[in-house]
Symmetry: C2
Subunit: 339 residues, 2 copies
């Protein structure tokens, strides 16, 4: 595939680029009124995720409307457990809910390694997006990191402490590893199908990384991320583990290309820990975008400076919040592009 704009792929390979590429986690979403219109048309979040034509449409919106350097496929990390046999529902107020949780070896009977054909609605959406973008920018595929998926499947819903999930790591490590293994196998097959459909980069989201101690992280999360990074040799992989600053040194040894930083992490410190070769991604505080466009531009320039010591893909330190003013979002993106 020849891209008109392949800045992000070159930055991910560690090459020097004429400017820093930029995209935003959750860029395809509620910040755009055009998204909210399609979402209303779909009727529900899950309908939108499972409809390739509509998913492709909202995936491309931020390329057209915001001018980002990559599209990330509109989907959800929880499609993987869904395909494994652990269905989720998305409740408007509460977020994801799993009516049937998986908490012991007997529950594993309910699950199977997901076959990518069960997630064809995602790979179809990727193919369609790639076709419609026609080389304007690359498409990023993604999946949840196995521990984050494990946390939802065992806890059954979002949680501040995920104490049910964490308790299982301590009380039933054998079960925990079996479930993590099933998730990992499903994820690798799913990511390979995303590549086959045209995803030019992949990102792993370890949203709940920060609830684990460093030792537990290595045993129950890092090793599975490592395995995925080893299995994916076709395209560059980004690891974004929110709150897992303590694991960055390990990530630097994995065969991933890019390490995403949350806004708590000083980019200069991360560069020292990671060394000169990998690309870093991030990390403006999404709340910074509540400020005026002028303030956002200033903060963005200061962030770019902090990342100047090595290859960088500009992004926020977490997904953009739904009520963020579009003007400030544009100030962020345009400041990166003009720097």
């Amino acid at each position: 595939m020849i891209y008109q704009n392949d800045l992000i792929l070159r930055a991910a390979r560690g090459e020097r680029t004429e400017r820093t590429p930029v995209w935003m986690m959750r860029q395809a979403g509620r910040i755009l009124k055009e998204y909210r219109e399609v979402r209303a048309q779909a009727g529900s979040f899950k309908n939108l995720v499972e409809n390739p034509a509509l998913a492709a449409e909202v995936t491309i919106q931020p390329v057209d409307l915001l001018g980002v350097d990559a599209a990330i496929i509109f989907s959800d990390i929880l499609v993987v457990p869904d395909a494994m046999g652990c269905r989720y529902e998305m409740e408007e107020a509460r977020g994801p809910v799993f009516p049937q949780t998986i908490r012991n070896t007997a529950d594993l009977r309910l699950l199977h390694v997901a076959d990518p054909s069960e997630l064809q609605y995602v790979t179809d959406a990727i193919s369609l997006t790639v076709k419609q973008l026609d080389g304007r920018v690359p498409v990023i595929g993604f999946a949840g990191a196995p521990f984050t998926i494990f946390a939802y499947m065992t806890e059954g819903k979002g949680s501040k402490t995920f104490s049910i999930a964490k308790k299982l790591l301590y009380t039933d490590p054998a079960f925990s590893h079996r479930l993590l293994d099933l998730i990992t196998e499903s994820t690798i097959a799913y990511l390979k199908a995303q590549i086959a459909a045209g995803a030019a980069m992949l990102q792993l989201f370890d949203s709940w990384a920060g609830i684990l101690s460093p030792d537990q992280y290595g045993e129950f999360s890092g090793r599975y991320i490592h395995r995925i990074c080893e299995a994916i040799t076709e395209v560059p992989v980004t690891v974004f583990a929110k709150g897992a600053w303590f694991a960055i040194e390990d990530f630097a040894k994995y065969p991933c290309r890019t390490i995403g930083l949350d806004w708590n992490t000083d980019p200069r410190w991360a560069r020292q820990v990671v060394g000169p070769n990998k690309t870093l991604q991030g990390n403006l505080d999404p709340c910074q975008l509540y400020a005026t466009p002028e303030q956002v531009a200033e903060a963005t320039r200061s962030m770019l400076q902090a990342f100047a010591g090595g290859p960088h893909i500009a992004n926020l330190g977490h997904g953009v919040y739904p009520d963020t003013p579009v003007e400030s979002v544009k100030a962020f993106i345009n400041t990166v592009k003009q720097a």
Copy 2:
């Protein structure tokens, strides 16, 4: 005051002690059936907090029942905004709720610097506890760090992102500093009253520290913690800022004696950053206590090893979870005492 057991005070002063002292955040609480009985008698959480005799009773329970080396006064960090004129309610399912939030300069009219006489129910509870303990162990007083109190007063309730609170830091820093200043002045007066009532140590809880970027943390949280540490010269102060690993280097320069670590923070790394002089406190993962007593004992020994490079007060890395088995809690405490 002469204590039969002053291990924790000596450890807080950085002296070598015959063994490591141990207590647990939230030790006076729902893990003990004796607490649940008094709580039922009080009728509500706030009634219990505001009743000195009952508060003293539950404060002393873990000394009697668990053998910890300090009592921490049973109270809540939100008594300070309550006394400032911003009343809170404690809802069983949702946690604290502030019907009237403080979000702009005009709202500041509703507030005043709290006079310690408005918090006499706490200082009375401390005096009573000190009297009833009769020198068995010291009593720890506490307050929330100003930013954490600010977060509740502005947001109005708990939140995953506290995006309303954080937005104010970006959009109205002048208001934010005025509110933080009022909270800080109230907190200093309150802590001095706790000392006068007999608190032999103080701890600041910055529960929501981890939502701020390092720069914002320095400006909106660290500087107020610093000011409190400078104002309190009578007794040793502990700073516990959950998720603020990036601020530990700054805390090392504050005139506090002890730095509390959450369970994400490697004690050996923290010791390197902090240097040899300050005492470190922590940091077993509260979820570890869901494991068997044997596993807890092993993890506790390994934690003690990790802290062996300098003065240490053993604790969890966060408050004990309400459904933790008492046998495992005892395994934690007894392992420290026998090491």
